[in-house]
């Protein structure tokens, strides 16, 4: 087998940037992620076993326990040994006191991620917002609306809604200009927020009286932290004359819909009444993530006069005695003259053999490391005929 070394001009490193769109639709304690409903199984009501205060909207990390009864779940475990390895859910104290060496430490599946919505009343304690203070202030050069304390309000005390989006949903960052939040009452759009200026400001667009045209009112109702995956909503003006009990406790007087009430029934987080219905309100959040795909492109050359011999046994005529008459010594290998190569050259005439040509068919290319270990194989959809006069370049692409 011949091996060739890639020259610097044969290898290219690229990065493909993709923007997968993500959508969440929230209604009646259900979150529908990417328009995918919840499938019921034979043993459980949700085949992916992902449950919480709200139904749906989860990503399962491994998706192993599909439609399994509770006594047949797949679960991970490690054995306590000298490496002192355990799951993160096992505290150091529990690791030291609850498990003997050689004992099994169990985990559980599914491991899930979902959006989380937190509602903060005025002057309510908000450690998550405080933790974002530095990040918020660092984006003031994009918009003053980011500032932790400014004319747009003091984020330490004002009423607000925090939407936390795990990075598994968006990848490296949320794409600027792709965020859209829509508020519906009985299926009618009453307001939309967009970051149309791509500076993180969520500005309100409203449907005009014809019900079709979207006009911008210009009010800033919140900001998006693109890299960190947070949406902070502070807009507290009424969007409609409709009233519903958006406040917690539920005994409170019904109020008009505001942006800080966005996603009320889709909350797995704190600050909202769980297990409540808002029969008239529904919410949609759409954005695009940013995903990078590193790509390695390699050009493999089959030059003229090269790669025209094969070690494949079928390269020799059927019935040839190869092994018995070849001469192998310390300094030489003399191939048997009784093992002629099959002539596969095509003749232009009927019932006539063509002149002999050394022809091979290339059907795969192996990639080797410096130590000649085979590390990858590229297969061709169809074998390529290689005559001595042919000169080919194969383009190999590896995504990872």
């Amino acid at each position: 087998m011949s091996t060739y070394k890639f020259s610097p001009n044969d290898i290219f490193y690229n990065r493909i940037k993709t923007f997968p769109e993500v959508s969440f639709y929230i209604y009646d304690r259900r979150v529908i992620y990417n328009n995918k409903g919840v499938s019921a199984g034979q043993f459980v009501s949700n085949v992916t076993q992902m449950t919480g205060p709200v139904t749906g909207g989860f990503i399962s990390l491994y998706e192993l326990n599909v439609d399994r009864p509770s006594d047949s779940l797949i679960y991970p475990f490690v054995t306590k040994d000298g490496s002192l390895t355990a799951f993160k859910t096992i505290s150091t104290t529990a690791f030291n006191s609850d498990f003997a060496y050689g004992e099994q430490i169990n985990g559980s599946y599914p491991l899930t991620a979902s959006i989380s919505l937190d509602r903060y009343q005025a002057d309510q304690s908000r450690p998550k917002i405080q933790a974002l203070k530095t990040a918020l202030n660092s984006y003031q050069n994009l918009s003053y609306a980011y500032a932790y304390n400014s004319d747009f309000g003091n984020k330490a005390t004002q009423e607000m809604r925090l939407i936390s989006i795990p990075s598994i949903f968006y990848g490296s960052s949320i794409k600027k200009g792709s965020v859209s939040l829509k508020f519906y009452i009985t299926g009618t759009l009453i307001g939309e927020l967009k970051d149309d200026k791509m500076n993180g400001e969520l500005r309100q667009f409203a449907t005009s009286s014809d019900g079709v045209t979207i006009t911008q009112s210009g009010s800033i109702a919140g900001v998006v932290l693109y890299n960190e995956g947070f949406v902070i909503l502070t807009g507290s003006w009424p969007l409609s004359s409709h009233t519903e009990k958006y406040l917690c406790p539920r005994s409170a007087t019904p109020g008009k819909p505001r942006w800080i009430d966005f996603g009320y029934t889709g909350s797995n987080g704190s600050g909202d009444c769980l297990n409540v219905n808002l029969p008239s309100s529904s919410f949609s959040m759409i954005f695009s993530g940013t995903n990078y795909v590193p790509t390695l492109t390699m050009l493999a050359h089959a030059s003229k006069g090269e790669l025209n011999h094969s070690n494949n046994p079928t390269y020799k005529q059927y019935g040839s005695v190869i092994s018995q008459t070849s001469s192998i010594g310390t300094t030489q290998f003399v191939e048997s003259i009784r093992a002629p190569i099959v002539n596969v050259a095509s003749s232009s005439f009927v019932s006539s053999s063509a002149d002999f040509q050394k022809i091979t068919f290339i059907d795969q290319i192996g990639i080797y490391d410096d130590d000649k270990n085979l590390i990858a194989i590229a297969k061709l959809a169809n074998p390529i005929r290689k005559r001595e006069m042919d000169d080919y370049t194969f383009k190999l692409k590896l995504d990872f």
């Binding site: 499938s39 599909v66 047949s72 475990f77 054995t79 490496s83």
Partner: protein, 369 residues
């Protein structure tokens, strides 16, 4: 961006390996009868080529479905089941090819280039009993991961009548036999080109010499493949290993014995027959987690100053009250750089560590892959 770098010495970097396992239970209901009426099922996939049957954990047209395993069967060219008469044996060539292909991959070749047949005890050089026909269960990589954990595999098979395979006590106990790789963690073979393998034995059954746990197949741990001998389904008087109260075989559809099933039916029908008798399967898988641990040793006079812009205000260190105080910094991040000072990885601390000339510390950075 770091302004000062510290070079790792040889004893600052070490590698470790952690074994993570998963417990995989597969109930008989999963492989037969839950998603349709046996032998059909929306989680059972048959192919036009007819070489094997795939079992999923949910209807396979759903994006939620996971592939569990494939079932196929085969026999050796010199097996009594093999026949050149295609009228006698259905898919004869395919069944021989499957056996040969699996034997090539899992057992390899002898010195003459001939394919080695599956050996009952794995001792190839001693000759011994060969397993010339049986079922192959190829578990998906999703479940078997790096390898099946040695000594963890069990498979229960109902031995009752074809109509009620689980309910009739055809053997002692609950009427089921357990096939397991008992003690394989201490006793396994390494002479396979596909990695390590163990011997499957059956818990209930007798050979002609008395009560033993007969060898009934092989389990290839890294390949995730089970080879189950057809002798499991024969009673001892027929040359099998099944101790049957009523002196009956484990019959297949149409009350045929396993020989008739292997020769007279399609591979997918033979697979259906096995699924019908599976009570449950369970095993543990293994994933190797390789880690490199970097010990970042910070001496008393290291990293007591920061180049962070917020460290200074009006040319004074913010975190110092008096000019006579020792310099203080707070370590939040450890950057790992290449020899060319390219940033390769960043390790973040959950909370900042106070560093001043009075203390030394070692930050342990673990990189899993």
């Amino acid at each position: 961006m770091a302004t000062t770098y510290k070079t790792f010495l040889n004893n600052d970097i070490t590698s470790t390996k952690t074994l993570l396992h998963e417990s995989i239970p597969l109930t008989g209901a999963l492989v037969s009868g839950t998603y349709g009426t046996y032998p059909s099922g929306s989680n059972i996939k048959n192919y036009a080529h007819g070489m094997f049957q795939s079992v999923y954990d949910y209807p396979y047209l759903s994006s939620s479905a996971n592939h569990i395993f494939d079932i196929t069967c085969g026999y050796a060219p010199n097996s009594p089941l093999s026949s050149s008469d295609s009228n006698i044996s259905v898919q004869n060539a395919k069944k021989i090819n499957i056996y040969n292909q699996m034997a090539q991959v899992l057992m390899g070749y002898d010195a003459t280039g001939s394919i080695l047949r599956f050996d009952e005890d794995g001792n190839i050089t001693d000759g011994g009993t060969k397993i010339d026909s049986g079922y192959f269960l190829n578990f998906s990589r999703l479940l078997s991961k790096d390898e099946i954990k040695k000594g963890s595999f069990t498979m229960k098979i109902g031995t009752g009548s074809w109509a009620s395979p689980m309910s009739t006590a055809n053997v002692a106990g609950d009427g089921r036999v357990t096939i397991a790789d008992t003690n394989a963690q201490n006793d396994y073979r390494v002479n396979s080109p596909a990695g390590e393998y163990g011997i499957l034995s059956m818990s209930v059954g007798y050979d002609t010499e008395g009560p033993v746990t007969p060898k009934v197949g092989l389990i290839f741990y890294q390949a995730g493949i089970i080879f189950l001998s057809s002798s499991v389904f024969f009673r001892t008087s027929q040359g099998g290993v099944l101790q049957s109260n009523a002196d009956t075989d484990m019959t297949m559809a149409g009350n045929n014995n396993i020989t008739a099933s292997f020769t007279g039916s399609l591979i997918q029908d033979a697979a259906n027959n096995l699924r019908h008798r599976i009570d449950n399967i369970s095993f543990n898988n293994t994933t190797e987690l390789n880690s490199t641990i970097h010990f970042c040793r910070i001496n008393h006079n290291d990293f007591n100053y920061s180049s962070n812009p917020t460290y200074l205000s009006q040319s004074k260190i913010v975190v110092k009250n008096n000019t006579q105080d020792a310099p203080v910094s707070y370590i939040t991040t450890v950057g790992l750089y290449s020899a060319d000072n390219e940033l390769l990885a960043v390790a973040k601390l959950s909370e900042a560590l106070k560093k001043d000339p009075t203390n030394e510390m070692t930050v342990r950075v673990r990189l899993d892959y």
